[in-house]
Amino acid sequence: MPKLLIVENDAFAGNFMYKSLESYGFSCVSLADSAPFAMRILRQTNPDVALIDIELGGGPNGIDLARAFRKVKASIGIVFLTSIVDPRLIDLKGLELPDGSIYLSKSSVTDITEISESLQESINLAKTNALPCIVKHQDSSLNLTKGQFELIRLIAEGLSNKEIARTKFVTLKSTENSIARLAKKLDLKDTNTNSQRVLIAKRYFQMIGKV
């Protein structure tokens, strides 16, 4: 039975997956709710595959953790299970998701079988790590550019146009135009009652499963 390490800081979700995946033929070595604990368990139990939530609270996120896992054990299978529908919404700061990993959005998973199959698939992928991360059920309707994904995230983080311009090293005018284009693509209209920025932020939080 493949040994599985689950990294999830939501105790309910974590315990649910722990119990469910055991019945699917996995030997669950532990449920870790933080990066340091997960690293310790990894070194102790040498799991074959890890199911990782991306948002782990403060400090390293699940992607940082996955990269650290791969340094300890290069052939460990990695499956990300997260509420963020698209990895492009994550502030990766130029990083790539680990090769040979699988990205699953919670909202697109309808059956625990799919998680089980993805875990098995990731074990095979991790043997060579030849393929980039596989994003399952990627929402093709999210037809945004990389820059627009970053912009939507910065707006949701509460930055003003001026702060965004400074962060991206562009002019204020350029930023305002970019936001207008983004709103248009998202089909969001600025009305008297609904601020466009609020709507953009709201859409972002919907995409990452917070709303």
Binding site: A11, M39, R40, Q44, N46, G57, K93, G94, E163, R166
Partner: protein, 545 residues
């Protein structure tokens, strides 16, 4: 009775019987003593496998010891045995050379397993205590404050809740330290409890989980931890009497019997406890066949060989069979277990050895009653002192003191949360707090040379944000393994230097990170790569106010 004794003593081969019995006992004792001392020495082996040379040397010494002790007694008693002295000695040496090292490996496995159990127990307890403390501490803190405040000061639920939330957010840098204290205390108490549980050596069926490694180790434990239990000892005595009487099965291997006894005890317990669902049938069958086969087959073969058979071929054939069966038996039973297998087995075993939830809660309540007093001695910030004063006042039902402490809290809360840091301990705690989540992924060393109060224009949060951003960049962009943080007071500013062993960068990084440094230090920061030491260095200077 006299007639029975005289009948026994007039038994034709009574002298041989007596000699054989004594020789077997002495030989066994010698072998057992050697076995135990070898096992002790083997605990020093942390390698996954013994080398072939080590195994053969152990076997040769054991064989010589056994053959020598038996031969010496044969010579003393001047007993004319059925087999020639030479053949007997050669046979014992050859057999021992093969089975004794394997037995040593079996014992070595157990010793390493026992040692790993102790290490793993400490690790598990530490993890559990931190997790437990983290999940409970906040809850307890909230409950005690809210209940106490509500009852004593007649605040509404929402007012009490609001006050608690303010306390939590403003004093958040204190919380990890609270948790550490509680988890340390819990760990200390739980470790004491675990010690008493672990002394119970009886293998737990519930821990086996169908894992063959655990099964083998459980059988080992049942043998090794009770070597002088009556059952085992009785078996040895009986066999040493039966062996001379049969006068043919001198090649019975006593360690086999020890394992068989342990296995039998183990299986009987399993039957009584009805816990066989945890063990796979094939594991039981394999071990049964291996153990009994290595005893029964030599006896059976020995009976086929006529007395005083001078044919060398028969003896050699007999030896080959004994050796082959014994080796197969040991390989099936023992094997050389890897460190990782033993560790996994220890973790599986120990995760069941916990107190009940009721016991844990009781212990934790005791700890939380004392934690405030403990913390108060170490930290003197206004907010913590006020919060602790509330707790103390509530517990002593001193309303006036509680109201005064609440006013102190409100006054502190009205201060700008981005106030200048002044207490060096706060600064260090903030930095440590931000590093906590990265521990394990990378190594972080923190050194502070700030001893006295210092006033700078940046806030605690700004400094913390800078530290966290620096670590994040070092890990994500630098792919580092080590981060060193030095905090030093200079003439005009507070210097915070973050060094990492990552790959560096091509030019000054652009992005959100550098803007954090820019704002916090008001532009007084620099980042460079020292090619000589292969280190990337970030220096942040916070001007004194």
């Amino acid at each position: 009775m006299v007639s029975v004794i005289s009948r026994i003593t007039s038994f034709p081969n009574f002298r041989i019987f007596l000699a054989e019995t004594i020789m077997q006992l002495v030989g066994l004792s010698a072998v057992y003593a050697f076995w135990v001392s070898t096992a002790r020495a083997l605990t020093r082996f942390d390698k996954d496998q013994l080398t072939r040379v080590q195994i053969m040397v152990i076997g040769a010494i054991g064989g010589l010891l056994m053959a020598g002790s038996q031969s010496l007694l044969s010579w003393i008693f001047d007993v004319s045995l059925q087999l020639s002295f030479t053949m007997r000695a050669i046979g014992n040496v050859v057999v021992a050379a093969f089975w004794l090292p394997l037995q040593s490996v079996v014992v070595g496995n157990f010793r390493r397993y026992a040692k790993l159990k102790r290490e793993v127990r400490t690790e598990i307890l530490q993890q559990e205590s931190v997790q437990f403390a983290r999940s409970r501490a906040l809850e307890e803190y909230r409950r005690k404050i809210e209940e106490g405040i509500q009852d004593s000061l007649k605040l509404t639920t929402s007012q009490a809740h609001s006050l608690f939330e303010s306390l939590k957010s403003k004093g958040s840098q204190r919380l990890p330290e609270y948790l550490r204290v509680i988890s340390d205390e819990y760990f200390r108490l739980t470790a004491h409890k675990m010690d008493s549980k672990i002394k119970i050596r009886q293998p737990k069926f519930a821990n086996l989980r169908g894992n063959f490694t655990n099964f083998r180790l459980a059988v080992l434990e049942s043998v090794m931890t009770r070597p002088l239990n009556p059952g085992w000892f009785a078996t040895v005595i009986v066999v040493t009497i039966i062996v001379p009487l049969t006068a043919k099965a001198e090649y019975i291997l006593i360690p086999e019997i020890a394992l068989a006894t342990g296995l039998s005890t183990f299986l009987v317990q399993g039957t009584l406890l009805k816990s066989f669902k945890f063990i796979k049938k094939r594991q039981i069958m394999a071990t049964l066949l291996a153990t009994t086969g290595s005893i029964a087959i030599p006896i059976f073969i020995a009976r086929l060989i006529p007395n005083n058979d001078p044919k060398l071929g028969n003896h050699i054939a007999y030896l080959v069979v004994v050796i082959t069966v014994t080796c197969l038996g040991h390989i099936a039973q023992a094997g050389i277990l890897k460190e990782s297998e033993l560790r996994e087995a220890a973790i599986n075993d120990l995760t069941e050895l916990r107190g009940t939830e009721k016991e844990q809660n009781a212990e934790f309540s005791k700890i939380t009653r004392d934690w405030a007093k403990y913390i108060h001695g170490n930290y003197t910030t206004k907010l913590e002192a006020a919060a602790l004063a509330i707790e103390t006042a509530i517990s002593t039902d001193y309303t006036e003191a509680t109201e005064q402490a609440i006013r102190e809290v409100e006054k502190t809360l009205k201060l700008d949360s981005t106030r200048s840091l002044s207490n060096p301990q706060i600064l260090l705690d903030e930095v440590q707090d931000r590093c906590t989540n990265w521990q394990g992924l990378i190594q972080i060393n923190i050194q502070s040379q700030v001893r006295s109060e210092i006033s700078v224009v940046a806030s605690i949060r700004d400094v913390g944000d800078c530290v966290e951003e620096a670590i994040l960049n070092a890990v994500r962009h630098g792919d580092c393994t080590l981060v060193e943080i030095e905090i030093e007071e200079k003439e005009l500013h507070l210097s915070l230097v973050v060094t990492n062993d990552g790959v560096g960068f091509s030019n000054k990084p652009q992005g959100f990170g550098s803007s954090i440094y820019e704002e916090a230090t008001r532009g007084d920061w620099k980042l460079w790569r020292d090619e000589k030491s292969k280190r990337t260095i970030l220096e942040l200077n916070f001007a004194k106010s």
